[in-house]
Amino acid sequence: MIEGLEVDRGGRRVLPGISLSISAGTVTGLLGPSGSGKTTLIRAIAGVQIVAGGAITVLGRPAGDPALRPRVSYVTQAPSVYGDLTVRENLRYFGRILRVGEERLEEVIATVGLDDHAGQVVNTLSGGQRSRASLAAALLNRPELLLLDEPTVGLDPVLRASLWEMFGELAAQGTTLLVSSHVMDEAAHCEGLLLLREGRIVFDGTPDLLRERTGSADLSAAFLRLIESRERGA
């Protein structure tokens, strides 16, 4: 739940006052071209962004509240894991801080499909494997809200599909997910869609509503049509 959020980064207003809410237990896609403010919005919800104005309520508390730390996980676009440790050593460290048991490590390793690489030093993994290791660390504490910044970038289509399937399963178990992407095709996997352009929400609704409103079956084309019609209107 966000009201009138304003954020400045690098002397520029990135988010000029947006309001939105995300329903619990769903996968919401945050889509938009790069530079549209997706990362800034996610950072603000995670409580790591200094904001200029507005109020963000996450799970009933202000974003960044210490009580939210065990309940919210944020995965940055660049994998934030220790490159000189193995996948399992990384997870063991984060797991100790999050107070989860050893058996949970193996569960999340299996969830992200890194069973064969758990004993491998992260620096020797491929880019996609590294980002899955980073994702695994975010799953350790079974977060109620999972914020994922471009988790499917650079992954092959098979892996991409399996990740989206996993996001759906997590949502079915009650987790709320906000997943950013700049690939419009991925919108089809989401129950809710937020389209962001130049820091403003240009669409907030279901994929079906977007298709209906624009009369386009293809979501990529629908996005284009939406922007065209808005610009004509303005």
């Binding site: 200094i50 944020y74 940055t76 000189d84 050593e89 030093v121």
Partner: protein, 245 residues
Amino acid sequence: MSLQSTMATAARVLEQLRRDPRTIALVIAVPLVLIALLKWVFDGQPQTFDRIGGPLVGIFPLISMFLVTSITMLRERVTGTLERLMTMPLTKLDLLAGYGVAFAALATVQGVIVGAVSFLLLGLDVAGSELAVIALAVLNAVLGMALGLLASAFARTEFQAVQFMPALILPQLLLCGLFVPREQMAPTLETLSWALPMTYAYEALERVSTVGELGARGALYTVIVAGAALLSLALAALTLRRRTP
């Protein structure tokens, strides 16, 4: 503050060091080579070797831990792991104390090996207890670590972090009295030296090496070194931000 998070952090930092045996080898071998070189340089003047060598055994860990810590923390800031930790239920104190425990452990290994080789093999002679020199070495290592954690906040790249060593540590080494007694310095420099933490580290070591015991003054200086370490840890904690622009 939680003991579990502190110890988990210490274990993680030590695991990272274990993956990098060359760094451990350098941390131990470099001071050994330099002390051996010093012995050779002052071959004809064993008193000079004793006067400089004793305190040097206790000062080395400060320099090596400053370097190793500032780079480790900088990496943590640059790779985003610090940001991840800051979104987790981990206090800043847990993180810094974890670093402290890990590097104090490394400094103890360094101090014991460098001390043993210097005192037993190279014939370095101090008036007081050799163990006291090694204990002060570990304390100085903690000071070096705390200064390194603080310095890492002001570096954006590893090149910058490395340059902080000559910028912040070398002047202290020149002014602490190791090379020239401070009474013989220009009054401005002598006054300035009282503001630098390494001066107190050196004075305490110097008392153990030449007088033979710490005494009340030396004990006070030791407390000042510990205080300086705590102060820079507190300042370093202020540079760890949960929210960034």
